[in-house]
Symmetry: C2
Subunit: 331 residues, 2 copies
DNA sequence: ATTCAGATTGCAACCGGTTGCAAAAATTGT
DNA sequence: ACAATTTTTGCAACCGGTTGCAATCTGAAT
């Protein structure tokens, strides 16, 4: 079917090794034979079979890109960035959708079958067991958007969610809100737990502030809307820190439905700064996660882990930044 | 590194062939040896190397999933559906991002290197040259969301955009709009060209209707907003058929910025029915593309093409449906 | 012209599997 | 118990590459 190395070798009148060497850099080939080979290859339309070579080299250049976030628009941006960056580095993403997967075993088997060189787990909600399972199978893995730990099991790159919580609280306090709300994502999500801790820490140090805490069922529009609708029934706070941007938009929609408006009646600050947040009809004040940096750093880290597979697990944290838009009262 | 077939064979006290056969269905193995092999495999944690086997079988079960739509939220849904469906069928998506690729050669080389069994091009804006290039290289390819042609070069599955245009026009006429607008996507996009043709056909048959046509620079929020802002300056139509949902949302935002509202001042009908369209604060009347069916059918078709690689190119078209929401005046 | 180091080349074995073929084993019928 | 079938098994070659090694070639130095 496809053109093979052997055919090229015959046509060029050289050995198979010679052909192989022209396509492995660092190998010793004279300019003369290289010319011959390249000529023959071009005529035949040859391109080396990466999978076959992986057999001997032990490297497929395949990276498992694993996620269960296929409903948060932020992740479209994340996939865009990951695929481009991996391509730039000569790696190929094998996309794995873990949406309704509960058993790490299955995904592990799948990844082993395709002998991926490494794995990037891109999710803030995926159970750490998954990343752990890959790690235990000696597959280099980095957990992007994962939870920070000072002594992590696996490489982690993301943001310091505790600090994000503090940042949100400070932002709300600075604007003079006295009654503020923490509207988190799903209760069990580590991101929510951490943000809440930071949030409460700062609030606790302030005086005369009333807080209320609640959780949405998911990081989604609908869950955000439902949660805010519920808030509005029982004396709502003046401003809320919402679990993420898409939840925030749900909350804004609830506010609007109730005949109220942000920031005049209720303030909202989100988290992520996804593309949509800056749409004029949304114009959401939010905390930006530097996703480009997280992605680039994840790729860099997985490559480093490829080189040295018992590299010590590392946590890389990036700082976030408040993006002022129109859903919080001005300073 | 990884456990190989040979080790399992030794441990189980059988030949390598026996092990191989236990994992290829349809092969002849006695229950007894199968037991032994499975035991040894379990103890060793063996899983067969799909890439190595692809060498002899000629099938990698890798499917190139190619797109340049990483900014339209609809495509997150599309990727979700594709990855799940492919996984269900035992295929693995190798994701390729063509965002800034102009030369089909590069992508072709990349796909050949990884000897994908087939390719799914998921994009309505990608140049047909790409799909064509893969097809010429004898790689089974289906173009999802591609342009219908009665004698297509490659397998196509999508919707009949001409009919969508007609449907939009009929919907607007039925609501009594007399001055209507076609606000298309980028001028060169075949989807826009086709929809416009259908739209104008129906309008042409109606009496006393005024039409105006314009194009946005891209299928994006910003382009939709800019285009509508421009419309609003010079006597706008009463209602518009917008290139797609995300453009529609941009247009709605422009309408809102101008102090107007839909549907009271200006009506909008979109196309796609992406998840966001039903968000309460958007509530967009739109034409639904049955993306689940398109995806499932694409996967089915690519699998069929794998079986019979000179299967005659086929176009599969699905019908769309108007989804009534709140951006068009009621009937 | 000779020597020698360094560069280039081909041979052959190997990577982790699959598969056609013939031999061996199990099953069937009588 | 024996022959005829059918099933199971292992051997060995092969898939498309890579790579250690020894042989050959090259050019510079003597």
């Amino acid at each position: 079917m496809a053109v093979t190395l052997k055919e090229v070798a015959e046509r060029a009148g050289v050995s198979r090794s010679a052909v192989s060497r022209t396509y492995t850099d660092g190998a010793s080939v004279s300019p003369k034979t290289r010319k011959k080979v390249e000529k023959a290859a071009k005529e035949l339309g040859y391109s080396p079979n990466a999978l076959a070579s992986s057999l001997t080299t032990g490297r497929t250049k395949l990276i498992g890109l694993i996620s269960n976030n296929f409903h948060n628009p932020l992740f479209l941006e994340v996939f865009d960035l990951f695929t481009r960056r991996l391509q730039e580095k000569g790696l190929r993403p094998l996309l794995v959708n873990l949406t309704d997967e509960t058993d790490p075993k299955n995904s592990l088997r799948m990844l082993k079958q395709y002998s991926v060189d490494g794995v990037i787990v891109a999710s803030s909600t995926l159970l750490p067991e998954f990343a752990k399972a890959f790690h235990d199978a000696k597959i280099p893995v980095v957990h992007s958007f994962g939870r920070f730990a000072s002594a992590p099991d696996v490489h982690v790159v993301g943001v310091d969610n505790v600090e994000c919580g503090r940042m949100a609280a400070r932002t709300l306090l600075a604007r003079g809100y006295k009654h503020i709300g923490f509207l988190g994502g799903p209760k069990g999500a580590t991101s929510t737990i951490d943000r809440r801790a930071g949030f409460m820490e700062v609030i606790g140090q302030a005086k005369g502030i009333k807080v209320k805490v609640s959780n949405a069922a998911a990081y989604s529009f609908e869950a955000g809307r439902v949660a805010m609708l519920k808030e509005l029934k029982a004396s709502p706070a003046e401003a809320y820190f919402c679990g993420d941007d898409v939840m925030s938009i749900g909350a804004l929609s609830a506010i609007d439905s109730a005949g109220l408006a942000a920031p005049d009646d209720i303030g909202i600050i989100g988290l992520n700064d996804m593309e949509m947040a800056k749409w004029e009809n949304i114009n959401l004040t939010t905390i930006r996660q530097p996703i480009k940096q997280i992605v680039d750093s994840s790729v860099e880290l997985v490559m480093a882990a490829l080189e040295d597979s018992n590299r010590h697990p590392e946590a890389r944290l990036f700082s976030c930044q408040v993006i002022e838009r129109g859903t919080l009262r001005p300073l």
